[in-house]
């Protein structure tokens, strides 16, 4: 059954966005430039806008990684550049992430606690407006009235706040991430404390 844009957006918020940071780290390790990473990420999201329904996708992270892989393969074909080592890394993008890892169940509360800290770290003016709009739910028009500033200023700060928060979210917070690391030949679930 087809789902509305709002339903897809809500699904993306819980199942794709939390994994964007991990995807970026992987792409970064493949020596892809930041601009190109942005493009690949954008196209991975674009891929989702073309879906009628997301209810069949059981694992958002695997889906995001697979979408990035498809996008990269298309780039390779378009540009007709064949880099063997690059291709094998693209393949690794889907293979490694097939295993069902408990680390993937991102804890929604932890994510939101992080968002809270990100809001606290916004520049003062931006934070004030962001708090009113996103935490207290005051419409922008009313914020402008209350603070005696124009709606354009409110909107500009809203964009700035959202940009900073999205940026921080997509860069990830590695010290809070759970990753599977290998100790000797045995993989163990471990907490990563360094960067």
């Amino acid at each position: 059954m087809a789902e509305s844009r709002a339903e897809i957006v809500a699904w993306v918020a819980s199942n794709i966005l939390p994994h964007e940071a991990a995807l970026r780290v992987r792409l970064h390790h493949m020596a892809i430039s930041p601009d190109e990473i942005d493009d690949i990420v954008q196209d991975a999201y674009l891929n989702i806008t073309r879906l009628d329904s997301v209810s069949h996708i059981r694992d958002g992270r695997a889906y995001l990684f697979a979408a990035a892989r498809t996008e990269m393969l298309q780039r390779v074909r378009r540009e007709r550049i064949l880099r063997i080592e690059f291709l094998s890394e693209i393949d690794a993008l889907s293979v490694v992430d097939e295993a069902p890892d408990p680390e993937r169940h991102t804890h929604a509360r932890r994510e939101l606690a992080r968002v809270r800290r990100l809001i606290d770290a916004l520049p003062a003016r931006c934070r004030e407006i962001f708090e009113l709009r996103r935490v207290q739910g005051v419409p922008q028009r009313e914020i402008a009235e209350r603070l005696g500033i124009s709606e354009t200023v409110v909107e500009r700060q809203a964009v700035r706040g959202l940009k900073l928060i999205l940026q921080a979210l997509s860069e990830g917070e590695r010290k809070d991430d759970y990753v599977v690391v290998r100790i000797g030949s045995r993989p163990l679930f471990k907490r990563r404390r360094d960067g």
Binding site: A10, V12, D101
Partner: protein, 310 residues
């Protein structure tokens, strides 16, 4: 990425666009249809923030308002109220309410005074709302209470000989074989034993106390980070941060008829980190097996885990 994607996501979120804005938006999108990807990403970030607001998780840390959870447990629990759980009201006054859950059920039960009891698997409560106090007897299992404020009628939970008293606060009580565990998420509670009614210990927010059978002193220890994890069951989850596999299996087995069995004591001591669904024992066993190099043999009534090559 494109700041305009953020701007349009925000504008569209504020309400319907003006005709002029709508044209500008369509032109922006038509210029490069791939921008729809950046727009979706920005919309998802706004949705994440909205959900945070709905859950109260974004409230400023210095705020005195307790985080309110709009929906604790979904349709399953609601169905459980309707179908499985007998809410028996006795004719005698004050009215007594029995709330019981079956294996694997988590139930959110609003009480007559406006308090809410979230009852974990395989638990049983008897609630008596009297004129002078509100009494809850936890005869089995575990529950988390969000107590409606009523200074005139203290809210008292009885678990064996342990008593926990609150005025308006949120805390959980769990009965173990060897004692009673109390976790406080909001406010302060008073804990004592019926054998020493004058010896009362205050347990504040973010603290936990384990009252072992037989021991005398009741001491509370700070445990804020653990409490969220220990109460993950409210969302059907089990959060582990290095606990032994044996512990994790005992927790998961609380919720399921089909028990996980560990065949190797050394494996049982391996520590596990992760967030798991308590209602999916086989999924848990298979995830852990990958990390621990174990084999999983699932039958109708058991899920066995053994080291590879045994």
């Amino acid at each position: 990425m494109d700041d305009l994607a953020l701007l349009w996501a925000i504008r569209r979120d504020e309400g319907p666009l003006s005709a002029e804005d709508q044209r500008a938006f369509e032109a922006w999108l038509a210029e490069d249809p791939r921008r729809d990807g950046a727009l979706l990403r920005a919309e998802a970030a706004l949705a994440l923030l909205d959900r945070g607001r709905a859950l109260g998780a974004l409230a400023a840390p210095e705020s005195s308002f307790p985080p309110r959870r709009k929906v604790l447990i979904g349709g399953l629990a609601a169905a459980a109220v309707a179908a499985t759980v007998g809410m028996v009201r006795f004719a005698a006054s004050p009215p007594k309410e029995i709330i019981a859950t079956n294996l694997g059920e988590v139930l959110r039960a609003p009480l007559a005074d406006g308090s809410i009891a979230t009852v974990n698997t395989d638990s049983r409560l008897e609630v008596t709302m009297g004129g002078a106090d509100r009494q809850v007897e936890l005869s089995e299992g575990e529950a988390w209470f969000e107590v409606a404020h009523d200074k005139a009628r203290p809210f008292i939970v009885a678990a064996g000989d342990v008593r926990v008293r609150a005025v308006g606060t949120a805390f959980s009580v769990r009965r173990h074989n060897s004692g009673v565990d109390v976790l406080v998420t909001q406010g302060t509670v008073e804990v004592w034993r019926t054998t020493a009614p004058d010896d009362r210990t205050l347990v504040g927010r973010g603290r936990r106390t384990f009252i072992a059978d037989g021991a005398n002193a009741i001491t509370a220890v700070p445990a804020a980070p653990e409490i969220d994890r220990a109460l993950a069951w409210r969302d059907g989850g089990l959060a582990l941060e290095g606990e032994p596999l044996d512990f994790a299996v005992a927790e998961i087995n609380r919720y399921n008829q089909r028990k996980i069995v560990i065949d190797d004591p050394a494996m049982g001591r391996m520590s596990i980190v992760g967030y798991f669904d308590v209602n999916d024992p086989e999924g848990f066993a298979r995830s852990v097996a990958i990390a621990l190099h174990a084999n999983v043999t699932a039958s109708a009534d058991k899920i066995r885990m053994a080291p590879e090559g045994t």
